[in-house]
Amino acid sequence: MASILSLKDAVAEFVHDGDTVALEGFTHLIPFAAGHEIIRQKRRNLTLIRLTPDLIYDQMIGMGCASKMVFSWGGNPGVGSIHRFRDAVENQWPRPLEIEEHEHAGMAAAFAAGAANLPFGILRGYTGTELAGHTPVKFIECPFTGEQLAAVPALRPDVAIVHAQKADRRGNVWLWGVVGVQKEAVLASKCSIVTVEEIVDDLGAPMNAVILPGWVISAVCEVKGGAFPSYALGYYPRDNAFYKQWDSISKDRATFLEWMQRHVMETADFAEFRRSLEKRGQTILSPPVNL
């Protein structure tokens, strides 16, 4: 049964050094607040899993939280590169980052296998690409037709962390819009934290809505705006200025570190982080640092 906790307490209880952690979200409902809390609590040696690592994984990598990343597409969606990730892979800064990379279909299959408690996922994929030489994928023969198929080992993270629109007081969670692999990630993981825009008395969700029952979730935390600067459909659009400005903030190590120190390390929680950006009348971002 889900406990309703503060995000700080949930991360302290469920995310440990050396854990395999999936902060999922397919460019929508990205759990930024939870990523920041992990950075604040200085978790180390994490294996980060996500199909589409973007700004929050860039921040976690640049702050030295991760020793490995499992992914299929890493970038700043619609903008360009994630520079801290690139610096880690190209120059081992701030520490070497082992990578295990897949294609989206393979990771989706691996999460579904994890959720189903099966040892591997199966798909037509990886064939003819050089990816196969750099991942744990193996090729097996269909016992019925003889067709060669790719097998990817199930993903079973220690912790899944996702952001959703609503929860009720018993910790049942409802998410909608682009829902990615969040359901599979939660069901594949040993424990899970869900941050939500609001906790309400009654979800009022329609039949067949994407619901994560409270009894499969470890902790539910109310964090308004917890997916900022990404989208939360029905609550806010993406703050595109942030995505664009991240490109220049993250390009330079010193600028990045100063920004993280000022806005994440020296703020107590996500609300304070948001306020730190709004200072000096800027609605969204603080003025570029070092300028």
Binding site: A108, E130, V179
Partner: protein, 259 residues
């Protein structure tokens, strides 16, 4: 009516849009493919079904999305499904007619690299990676590739094979039992290349107005062969251009204040 002045990016988008047949189900990515697919939907191909890999089926964005997670795609879609469903039932299930792909590098057989420049273990440039591309290239009925022409992009040998086009040439896809036909055209800012029906090597079949075959050959890193009769791509019509520019202006207005 032919428009007087347009950019090479507009020519590229229009040329790609023209290849979308009405009624096709079309797997779309952000950027030029999204602009081209929507231009097609707003002009000659109103019944085109746009599918973004975030799981939005029958998306009808009024403005171009900032990313595949954009609410604009979800809210106007016929259905929004999970990633497992989009890749399993829709893409692997063989329900998508056309896929759009871009890349950092392409070779003469339409194989694509979006993983690294330089050696994999010690890359000079780490690129985003595969995303949905390998599955799109394998399973869509056919694939259109869009990228800007330069010898650094059109290379004799890929630094990394992320996505298979025609592999080592004719027969490669059949050997691997890929259901889709593979890349049927490469649309750049200079020209259109299409695979030779026998060898599957990409050859120059059409140059955009004002571009010479020699220019395209010089901008290609392998000795590019030209078709016996190289066509000239018809320039954007006034209607194509005005619909595309309206779309871009609407998009800029909608995202103003966020940019």
């Amino acid at each position: 009516m032919v428009a007087n002045s347009y950019t090479s990016d507009e020519m590229m988008t229009v040329a790609a849009a023209r290849m979308v047949r009405n009624g096709t189900s079309c797997f779309v990515g952000i950027g030029l493919p999204s602009a081209a697919a929507n231009l097609a939907r707003l002009t000659h191909a109103p019944d085109t079904v746009l599918i973004y890999e975030s799981g939005t089926i029958g998306a009808k964005p009024n403005v171009l999305p900032l990313s595949i997670g954009d609410g604009e795609l979800a809210e106007n879609a016929d259905s929004v499904v999970s990633l497992v469903e989009i890749f399993y039932y829709w893409l692997m299930g063989g329900r998508i007619g056309l896929g759009f792909l871009g890349a950092a590098q392409i070779d003469r057989f339409g194989n694509l690299n979006s993983t690294v420049i330089g050696p994999y273990e010690k890359p000079k440039t780490r690129l985003p990676g595969a995303g949905g591309a390998p599955a799109i290239a394998a399973s869509c009925g056919e694939v259109l590739v869009t990228l800007r022409h330069s010898p650094r992009a059109f290379v004799p040998k890929l630094d990394f094979v992320t996505t298979l086009g025609y592999g080592e040439g004719a027969g490669s896809r059949q050997k691997l039992r890929f259901p889709g036909k593979g890349p049927t055209a490469v649309i750049s800012d200079l020209a259109i290349l299409t695979p030779d029906p026998k060898t599957k090597e990409l050859i120059l079949t059409s140059v955009h107005p004002g571009v010479t075959a020699d220019q395209v050959i010089a901008a290609t890193g392998w000795p590019l062969k030209a078709a016996p009769e190289v066509q000239t791509t018809p320039p954007p019509t006034a209607i194509e251009l005005s619909v595309l520019r309206d779309l871009n202006e609407r998009t800029a207005r909608a995202h103003a204040g966020q940019a």
